[in-house]
């Protein structure tokens, strides 16, 4: 090779070529650099037209010699998609160019079709694995994407429409390459989905469920309908859990651990935070016993996503927005039922007036949380006709499981007395009293998720934390 040719070839870089239009961009670039001449280019074009003519005959079953421009365009794109697949195996771009300009283009095209068929078969097998091991999460995009994939396999047209990704892919991956098309896009999507599922399966499914439930409460979204990536939420909390001092497969973070974490990281600069995250990620990989290099790399790449959010949250002091607490332990009792802290009548009346002046349920609940500290005063507020309908729910939402269990013991006292340990909060038989707060409490409890109901019921059945309740009730 002459020295000028060496220079020209050295200017031919993979990164200057369009990976989704590889053949055409390679030929154009080679022509521009003088590595091929017009005659060579015409030769390749003539071969492509021969392939197009044959494909047109197949498409029209030999009954038509012409097609609409749009249809011909689509066939040409399909041809070049297959040719791209045929030369993608060459690591060196010079070898790819040599094949295009010296080999029979029809042979490269056929090899490309074979390659696409292999990819399609690989996708079918990947799908079988994904379908068998999919996560039992209540997220419509996740389930629908997996359930709809068979339709893609039935409809994918390697010959006449190889470049078209005709699938309903709604579920967002953590890292998705949307610049790729056709079966190659589906393949990378399925490979990553499979990998994400495998990582998530290192965690207990009930822990993931709880995390998603807590996530929905923090962000006030319906996790069932939202377009969220489950691995992103899981990895984020797992990493913060490690930083809080837990092991890698723990997703629960307690409030006191959050405080420790906050103190640990609040004065770190960007480089230090980056190191801290990197270290936590390596701990996570080790704790989850992840051996596959591809999986390790996938998790390591998450640092690039998490670090900016982490830094932003620290800067604006909203770390609680990216670290999801477990509501089992997270809920500080909104009202500390401290019977030594009852209000005098005058103060109580003023608080009732303040509550009545509020238009929003959240504002009413906020006043009660900050001003009411005894169970007696709390019940009096509930009965003071300053809350109505959904306003009770807003207040109950701010209570922890223990506090709800105390109210439940009041509302269902007769049922509990009758049934003792056989009492079921999910199916209470009777409400003691017919005050609005009691009726609304019953409605509120019935709409909680079964896991939470069970937790509250456990409190009811355990030793009562505040014995004054019984004295108060006489």
């Amino acid at each position: 090779m002459t020295s000028s040719n060496i220079e020209k070839y050295s200017a031919l870089h993979q990164e200057n070529l369009d990976p989704n239009n590889y053949t055409v961009s390679l030929l154009n670039e080679a022509l521009r650099l003088g590595l091929i001449d017009q005659e060579t280019m015409h030769g390749v074009q003539a071969q492509a037209m021969t392939i197009l003519g044959e494909l047109t005959r197949k498409y029209t079953k030999g009954e038509s010699s012409s097609l609409r421009v749009e249809t011909t365009q689509r066939l040409l794109m399909s041809i070049f998609y297959a040719i791209d697949a045929g030369i993608n195996n060459f690591d060196d771009v010079r070898d790819a160019l040599a094949a295009l300009t010296s080999d029979d283009l029809t042979e490269i095209y056929k090899q490309g079709l074979d390659s696409l068929e292999s990819n399609l078969e690989a996708c079918r097998q990947l799908y079988q694995e994904i379908d068998k091991n999919k996560l039992a999460v209540h997220n419509e995009a996740y389930q629908a994407t997996i359930n709809d994939l068979p339709k893609f396999f039935r409809n994918y047209d390697i010959l006449f429409n190889a470049q078209d990704t005709m699938a309903n892919i709604d579920y967002p991956l953590l890292f998705d390459d949307m610049s790729v098309q056709g079966i190659l896009y589906i393949k990378q999507y399925l490979e990553k989905l499979n990998l994400e599922n495998q990582i998530c399966q290192s965690f207990a499914s009930e822990d993931i469920d709880q995390l998603l439930y807590n996530y929905s409460r923090v962000y006030r979204i319906n996790v069932r309908e939202a377009l969220i990536n489950i691995l992103e939420i899981v990895l984020s909390n797992a990493i913060f859990s490690i930083l809080s001092g837990n092991s890698g497969n723990q997703l629960h973070i307690a409030p006191e651990h959050f405080e420790l974490l906050h103190q640990k990281v609040s004065n770190l600069d960007r480089n230090q935070l980056s190191s801290v995250l990197a270290e936590a990620i390596e701990t996570l990989i080790s704790d989850l016993h992840i051996e596959e290099p591809v999986t390790k790399e996938y998790i390591r790449n998450f640092k690039g996503v998490l670090l900016p959010r982490f830094m932003n949250a620290l800067e604006y002091d909203c770390l609680h927005n990216i670290i999801i607490f477990d509501t089992k332990v997270n809920q500080h009792p909104a009202i500390l039922f401290d019977e030594g802290n009852s209000l005098d009548d005058k103060r109580f009346r003023l608080i009732v007036e303040d509550i009545m002046d509020c238009a929003r349920a959240e504002d009413k609940a906020a006043i009660i949380r900050s001003e009411i500290h005894s169970l007696g005063d709390f019940i009096d507020i509930l009965e003071a006709e300053c809350l109505f309908g959904d306003e009770f729910h807003a207040l109950y939402n701010s209570l922890g499981d223990m506090e709800l269990s105390i109210l439940a013991r009041i509302v269902f006292i007769e049922d509990i007395r009758t049934k003792h340990m056989n009492f079921s909060l999910a199916n209470p038989q009777e409400i003691t009293g017919e005050m609005e707060w009691q009726v609304e409490f019953c409605n509120y409890i019935q709409n909680l998720n079964p896991q939470r109901i069970k937790l509250i019921e456990n409190y009811i059945k355990s030793k009562l934390q505040i014995n004054e309740v019984w004295d108060f009730l006489g």
């Binding site: 055409v24 030929l27 154009n28 022509l31 280019m41 015409h42 074009q45 003539a46 492509a48 037209m49 197009l52 003519g53 047109t56 029209t60 009954e63 038509s64 010699s65 012409s66 097609l67 609409r68 421009v69 749009e70 249809t71 011909t72 365009q73 040409l76 794109m77 070049f80």
Partner: protein, 145 residues
């Protein structure tokens, strides 16, 4: 190279080949007193190219033109004076009909239908062929799709 430009880029070489193909059809058409001069054949190819572009279609050869010539040269309604112009118009009607019928009718079948209507109810009128008979055909074929 853009993908569709490669079709257009063959230019002069393809044109030369096509000219020969059109003139070769004179051997059969002469039996009916019809033939093209070289200039007429060249104009016909240009007209065909315009027609296929105007109708938003792509054809890698001139098969449709050759078939139309081979079939219509037998028509009693075409004479030497208007041979090239009539074929040119028929080619345009053909490509238009391919679009109107959404490529559901094969080339041979469509050309036969056009021939029968031209010689039959249209009695050699291209205007009636395009605007009455084939318009009805286009409507019928849309209803059936």
């Amino acid at each position: 190279m853009n993908k569709l430009d490669l079709y257009r880029s063959m230019g002069a070489v393809v044109k030369q080949l096509n000219l020969g193909d059109v003139l070769a059809l004179n051997e059969e058409s002469q039996k009916y007193g019809l033939c093209f001069t070289a200039a007429e054949a060249e104009d016909l190819i240009e007209s065909r190219n315009r027609s296929i572009n105007n109708n938003g279609r792509v054809e890698l050869g001139i098969e449709a033109l050759k078939k139309i010539i081979a079939v219509f040269c037998r028509s009693p309604y075409i004479n030497r004076a208007d041979y090239a112009e009539t074929i040119s118009e028929l080619v345009d009607i053909f490509y238009s009909m391919k679009n109107e019928t959404e490529d559901k009718i094969g080339d041979d079948q469509l050309i036969e239908m056009m021939y029968k209507l031209y010689n039959g109810s249209c009695q050699g009128s291209l205007d009636l062929l395009r605007n009455r008979e084939l318009a009805i055909l286009a409507k019928l074929s849309k209803r059936m799709m």
